[in-house]
Structures are given as C-alpha cells and as structure tokens.
C-alpha cells in the first residue's frame, strides 16, 4: 500500500504558484554569470581602506596582485586563476542546476521539486566544502624558505566570518551573487516545504 502512497505523493502535481516560484529560483541563478559570488576583504594598519578579492563564476578580481605580493612574505603561493580548476567547470554546474530548476517547473511533479531542492542544497554545501579545502591547503601549504616563519602559525582564511591573521583582519562571506544563490536555494526549499505543508493540510 505505501509504495502506492509514495507514488501518489511524489507524483503529485505542484501548485501553480509553486511552479512560478521555482522558475524564479532558477532564473535568479543567471545572475551568477554577471556578479561576483564571494568576497574576501582584508584590513591592516597599512591598509585602512582595505583590500578585496572577488570570486566570480570563472575568475578572481580585485587586489589579487597586492594580496599575493604581501602573502609571499609568509610563504603563501601566488594566487592565480589557473590555481582553481573549479573555474573551468563552475559555469556548467550552475547551468545544470538552473536547467534542472526550469525542468522541474515543466515536469510539474513533486519528485522533481525534491530532486531540485536536493541538487541546489548540495551544490551550495559542495561549494563551501571545496572553498574550505582550498583555504586549508593555501593557508597550510607554505614555502619553508619564506622570510617570515611563525612557528605553529597557519593562514587559512575564514570560511565565513572574520579572523585575525598576523597584522591582517580577514573577512570572508557571500557577495551579491552568493546572496542571490542563497535566495534561489531558500526559494526551492521553501516551495518544497509549502507543498508538503499544503498536502498535509488537505489530507486532514
């Protein structure tokens, strides 16, 4: 009986409003191609105006050269776009998630919405894990002949939030694109919650 129920539940069609919100959620992700997704900001006594690094879907911009020049003292590698294989395939991942969202609206089945919500949620988590791993490697894998070696010190940038690294205060957090991506995810998951809540209410 419950396979039938399951089938019944997941094959259930979506509310028209839900389909529109899913389309909105998917289309919002288009912005990822036009605005930066993540930002790292740094301040030091000598840099009261701050230094910034913007991570886009396929590149890094901002004061990258200056940050690299400063980082060489403590043996961190020069930041180059080629360091990040992610920039080669991120455009496709976002395109995939975006298309998945649009298809969900077309398929008009709750199962598709489940899948979309899971995909978008995992994509976000994967991005954060990937960023953490890069940060760990960049902050720990130091040149042993660097001019300044502070025993026991590593320079992993914060994943999200603020951290003091020698004379620098570093902040890491979403940029416009990141916030929009978060909104996309929340819309997808919120729609799913709305659908589930609605079906429970209609049953009782």
């Amino acid at each position: 009986m419950w396979p039938g129920l399951l089938k019944n539940k997941v094959m259930k069609k979506l509310q028209p409003i839900s389909r529109w919100i899913i389309i909105l959620s998917a289309l919002l992700m288009l912005s990822a191609y036009f605005v930066p997704l993540w930002q790292i900001l740094m301040w030091a006594p000598q840099y009261p105006e701050g230094l910034e690094m913007k991570i886009w879907i396929n590149t890094i911009t901002g004061d990258v050269k200056i940050i690299s020049a400063l980082n060489h003292y403590i043996g961190m590698r020069h930041i180059e776009v080629t360091m990040f294989p992610e920039f080669q395939y991120m455009i496709y991942i976002v395109a995939f998630v975006l298309t998945f969202g649009l298809l969900t609206a077309i398929i008009n089945k709750r199962a598709a919405l489940w899948a979309y919500a899971i995909v978008i949620f995992s994509a976000g988590i994967a991005a954060l894990v990937d960023f953490y791993l890069w940060g760990y490697d960049y902050g720990h894998n130091l040149d042993p002949t660097a001019p300044i070696v502070v025993p026991g010190m590593s320079y992993q940038p914060p994943l999200i939030g603020t951290k003091q690294l020698l004379n620098f205060t570093a902040f890491s957090g979403p940029d416009i694109g990141g916030w929009i991506f978060l909104a996309s995810g929340l819309l997808a998951i919120g729609t799913l919650a709305y659908e589930l809540y609605n079906s429970r209410k209609s049953k009782t």
């Binding site: 020049a69 003292y73 300044i148």
Partner: protein, 661 residues
C-alpha cells in the same frame, strides 16, 4: 622740601611709572586668539579643505600645504634639482632643466597660476615662472609633477608671469628687465635707444596643456612687473604694471623713482590675434629650449626652438594703451567681475582703482593726455573709478572675496587692509608679522572666489619662531575673513621664500590624483616588465642594467663583469602596483643622487665606477618589513679586465677554488 612734598613726589613718580608701563603698546603675544585653535585644527586622519600651492622663491620649487592646518604635504621640484627624488639627476629628468645656456639646475620661482575655465578653477594644471633664467613651467594636478618647462627668449628676467586668461587660452611672460634684443653687444648707457621690453603670449593646448609661444609683443624699454588678465567684460585684455618708465639703467632705487606716475599697460590680445592672422608679425631668429616630460615613457625630451613671431606695439595701432599709475606700480589686480583694475604704487599714499568700461570709453573718445613713443597714454581721470585714500604704506598686491571686498598687502606698514571695491571705503586692517609680500584668498584671482581665508606670505619672520642661527624660517599667516573683522588664526613656516600662492578646494583635486602608474602602460625604452625581463647588457663601455624592484628584492642583485671606466646605467623599474609603495635606488660613491621610483615607473641612475672592488647598492625608501634586505652588489674589475658579464638574484654557488686565499 618738606617731608610731605617729598612723599608726594615719590608717589607721583610711582603712579606715573605704572601709567607709563600700561601705556606701552601691546606686543603681538598679547593679542587675544579666541577660538583660533579650533578653526585650524584638522584632526588626525582628516583632510584639509584647501590645497595651498605656494611658490618657493629662491628654492625653485613649489610647496603644497593644507589650509586651514598649514601642514606641508610635499615639495614639488620645478626649476631646481631635487636629490630627494632624483629630479634633475635621473637620466629621464635631466632634460627638464636644459636651456639655451645649457643645464641650469636652479631658478627663482615667484608666481603660481592655476588653470581656469570660464574664469573659475578647474584643477588641471599649475603654472609657475622662473624669474632668473626666463622660463615657465606646467605642473600636473594629477601627479604633482613638472610636465613641461618652456624657456622664454628675448627676456631679461621673467617676473610678470605666468598669469593666465580666463579659459587658460594664454599665459604671459613679461620681461622684468628690458634688454637689447638678439643678444646685442651695446653700451649699457644706450638703454633708451637699444633696450626693449618683451611680452610673450604662450598658448596652452586645452587637451594636453602643451605650451608654445604664440607671439611676442615688442614694447618700450621699461621694467614689466606684474600682470593680470581681464575676465568677463574685460576678457580679451591683459594688464601689466610697468615701473622705470624713466628708463634708468643705474641706481634704479633713485633713478626709477622720479616720476609721479608710471604706467599700467593695457593689451588688447584679441587685436594681437587679428594682427597675427593678418600676417603682421615678424619672424625673429632666437634660441630657446622646450622641455616636455612624457608620462608614458617617464622621460623628458628637450628641443631647441629657433624662432618667434613678433608684433611691434609701436607700429601696430590699437594694440596697447598706457594708463598713468602713481609711483612704481607693483600689483595690477583685476576684481572677480572683470570691471575693476587695482594698481598698487609701491611708493604711493593712495591706491587707484581703474574702470574697464571707462578705459573703453576713453579709448573710443581718444581721451588721451599724449603718447609714449607713439603709444597713446589715456588720461588718468578718464580711466579712474576712484582712489582708496590713505590705505596704508607700500601697497603690493590685492586679492578678492566673493562679496565685493578687496584685501591688499602693505609691505611697509606690515598689514592687510580690507576695503570695498565699489565704495573704496577701508573696512578693516590687521597686522602681519612681518612685512607681508603676496597674499592669497582661495580663488582670489578667479571670477568666483571661494573666500573664507586670506593667507599672508611674509618677508621677515624675526622673533616669530625658535631662532635657527642667522638664517630663519620663512612664514605664512592665516586669517579668517568670514566675518566683518579679519582674525589671525595661525602662523605656519614655509620653505624657500614664498611669493605668490593660490589656494584651491581639495574637492577639485583629490578625485583624480594619480596613485600608481600602470606597468602595462609603461613605455620607457629601458623598462623591465617583470623579473623575467631583468638583465644586464653591454654596449661598448656602456653597461645597461635593466633592474626590477619589488618588496623586498632587486633583480638582479649580483652583477659581475663591470670594469673601471664603464658607464653603468641602472634602469630601475618598480614592479609594485600598490598605492604608496615607492622604491628607491642608490649606489655607493655615485656622484649624483638617489632615484625614487613610483609604482609602475622606470627611472635611470648613471654611475661611473672609479676603482676595482665590490660596491653595494640598496633600496632607499623604507618599503617593507624586509627593506633592510633589499640590496645587492656590483663587482668592479680593473679597466680592460675580461671578467664575464654575469647577473642573478637568489642564485648561490660554491666559492671558486682558491677564492679568498
């Protein structure tokens, strides 16, 4: 005398002494300063409201100060060498100081003119004159660097310069000393016959700022002192004060002070343009240097020009008129409306204010009192708006605020006097410490003064500061003019001897200030755009080191194969692209100076080793935590040695067998 009267006498003497003591004039220290401190206090990290661009006089440089704080920010080398940053020492900047006489490493910088559009400050360029070896310079407001120096031929000393027209169409250069044209060898006593005045009109390209002498006016042999362009209704005219119309050539202090009135010379430069277009100018063969600094190549070039176009004001009618002005006029200042021209006779007991519209009427009616060598002399009364009666002693210069008031400096009575331009009433006077020369109201010479302050540039400081031997600091004083009464706010020391200065709102300058030079745009032929391009090349006995500097190493930092007798050129490129990270370069025993290289820039220092050995070089600008490590060595071998040319950074090798034994 009885006892009582003796006591009375003693008491009277006592009372009188106290009274006398109290009658003694109060010194400056006792003048109440009120809330002056808070008016000039610019909190740490905050900015001043105005830039004050101050001539350095005999230091040949321009001082940049903040107003109201009076803090000195920078000294911009213009006509003088600057060992501090290598200006005039580096191979790139040496041509800036070239003249028809050769390399002249100093001048006497008197006046500043800031570029204007429609008579208002536009924040593009500052211009300055070289008084001694006649020159004018243009300094960029973006980089605060001297970009161009133009020598003035046929001039005996460039004093009435570099005053500008309202859209910076022209700046002028009038000769202080009349001289025989064409370097003629004549007796000095033939002054009247052979000596001539010369006024150059220098065209300024509105896009690039490039200057060139459009034409020269050949004028009678006087001393041309100061000048101002007309504006608004008087745009198209220029006014010059002239002294020594006696045409004396010796003991001028007596012989040039004989006449009751000298002249203000009114020049119709639009008419001059017409004559020029009609081909009325004569071509004269001359020799003068034109030096231009290119911001892309970071290199100056000097070109020797060989001719000027000359308009003779005695032959060409309606071009020049004389207006009698009492007793050796110095300042000749035009008010913001362009209608009034203030003549300041240094030795006169009053100040005449002339009216431009009256001058025009007088010319139309031929209301002349005669002529000087064929040039009409307008009747004094016909040109006069009125006289400021008993303003003070020794008037020199006048600046204006936006409310119709004028501020005149008085050298002899050591004061600034505020008066109303229309009514000619004296409104207020304040002492200066001591003997003010020029003065400056922000925007004072423009059509739209910014007002707020008047700054006095004094000739004597005496007891105002801690003494430093016989040679004392120079000084300026800041007064608040926002109220009815002027209030002294601040004394601040200046470098050189300050003559004229202008103040301009910081908001016109800061947004476009250069922070770095882009390394991709560096077109210096000796640039090394990255350490991979760093190298050493030998061309005969010239050794060219293409060196890079980045925190905190120079590449190459080990150089071998240089011989005694070689000429070594260190072309140092600063690879930094970050604000305020200059690097410096100096090498032991160099006979010139250091060079400072801004981010993205290339500069060259020449060095001739005179003895074998190993010679260190290093970065002179404390650039980073490892600045002390930023150094290197050149190995110098005896002349004719065959030591192989080698260069590296970061490469170490085992000592050669036998080395060091």
């Amino acid at each position: 005398m009885n006892k009582i009267s003796r006591w009375t006498l003693a008491l009277t003497i006592g009372v009188m002494s106290v009274a006398l003591y109290n009658c003694k004039p109060k010194g400056p220290a006792e003048i109440s300063m009120g809330d002056a401190a808070s008016k000039v206090y610019v909190a740490p990290g905050k900015y001043d409201e105005f830039y004050n661009i101050v001539s350095g006089g005999f230091n040949g440089q321009i001082g940049v100060y903040g107003i109201p704080s009076g803090r000195l920010f920078r000294i911009v080398p213009v006509f003088s060498l600057s060992p501090e940053n290598g200006y005039g020492f580096s191979e790139e900047t040496k041509p800036m100081l070239n003249t028809s006489n050769g390399f002249v490493p100093w001048d006497d910088l008197h006046h500043i003119a800031l570029s204007t559009t429609k008579g208002e400050h536009d924040g593009r360029w500052m211009f300055a004159n070289g008084n001694n070896t006649p020159r004018v310079a243009r300094v960029s407001f973006k980089s605060f660097r001297t970009e161009e120096i133009l020598e003035i031929p046929n001039s005996g000393g460039n004093h009435s310069s570099p005053f500008i027209t309202e859209n910076t169409e022209y700046l002028v250069a009038g000769t202080r000393f009349s001289v025989p044209m064409g370097n003629k060898d004549v007796p000095i006593s033939s002054y009247k016959e052979n000596f001539k005045g010369s006024i150059s009109f220098i065209k300024v390209d509105p896009q690039t700022g490039r200057m060139n002498i459009a034409f020269q006016l050949r004028t009678p042999g006087f001393n041309y002192d100061l000048s101002r362009a007309g504006k608004g209704p008087s745009h198209g005219w220029f006014f010059f004060s002239c002294y020594n119309t006696e045409q004396a050539y010796t003991l001028l202090e007596v012989n040039a002070s004989q006449k009751d009135k000298d002249f203000i010379m009114a020049v119709n430069w639009k008419k001059a343009e017409e004559y020029l277009a009609q081909g009325k100018a004569k071509v004269e063969k001359v020799k003068y240097a034109h030096n231009v600094y290119d911001e892309k190549t970071h290199t100056a070039t000097s070109t020797l020009e060989d001719q000027v176009l000359v308009l003779d004001v005695q032959e060409l009618k309606d071009l020049v008129y004389f207006i009698p002005c009492p007793k050796s006029p110095h300042g000749c200042d035009v008010d913001p409306s362009g209608e009034y021209i203030v003549g300041s006779g240094k030795l006169a007991a009053m100040m005449p204010v002339f009216s431009f519209s009256k001058i025009q009427t007088a010319i139309a009616n031929k209301d002349y009192e005669g002529d000087f060598n064929g040039i009409p002399v307008i009747k004094y009364e016909a040109a006069l708006h009125g006289e400021v009666k008993k303003p003070g002693l020794g008037p020199l210069h006048t600046e204006f605020d936006a409310n119709g008031n004028a501020y005149t400096s008085f050298f002899v009575s050591s004061e600034i006097v505020k008066w109303n331009v229309k009514t000619l009433q004296v409104l207020d006077r304040v002492p200066t410490y001591y003997s003010i020369g020029h003065l400056s109201v922000p925007g004072g010479p423009t059509a739209k003064p910014h007002g707020k302050y008047v700054i006095a540039y004094n000739k004597i400081t005496k007891d105002r500061y801690l003494p430093t031997g016989p040679e004392l600091t120079q000084s300026a004083q800041l007064y608040d003019i926002s109220g009815d009464k002027m209030q002294l706010l601040l004394d601040f020391p200046t470098t050189g001897e300050p003559h004229y200065a202008e103040a301009i709102p910081a908001s016109l300058i800061t947004p476009t200030s250069t922070k770095i030079y882009k390394i991709e745009e560096n077109e210096n032929p000796y640039v090394a755009k990255g350490e991979a391009q760093a190298r050493v090349e030998r061309k005969g006995n010239e050794v060219h080191v293409y060196m890079t500097a980045i925190r905190s190493h120079l590449t190459p930092d080990n150089i071998e194969g240089v011989n005694v007798g070689d000429e070594v050129y260190f072309h140092v490129t600063n690879l930094e692209q970050d604000w305020d990270v200059p690097h410096g370069f100096a090498i032991k025993g160099a006979l010139n100076a250091e060079i400072l290289i801004m981010p993205g820039e290339t500069q060259t220092l020449k060095w001739k080793p005179i003895a074998a050995g190993v010679v260190p070089f290093y970065c002179t600008d404390f650039c980073s935590a490892l600045h002390q490590e930023m150094s290197g060595y050149v190995r110098v071998s005896p002349a004719g040695s065959k030591t192989p040319l080698k260069f590296s950074t970061g490469a170490t090798e085992e000592p050669a067998p036998g080395a060091g034994q």
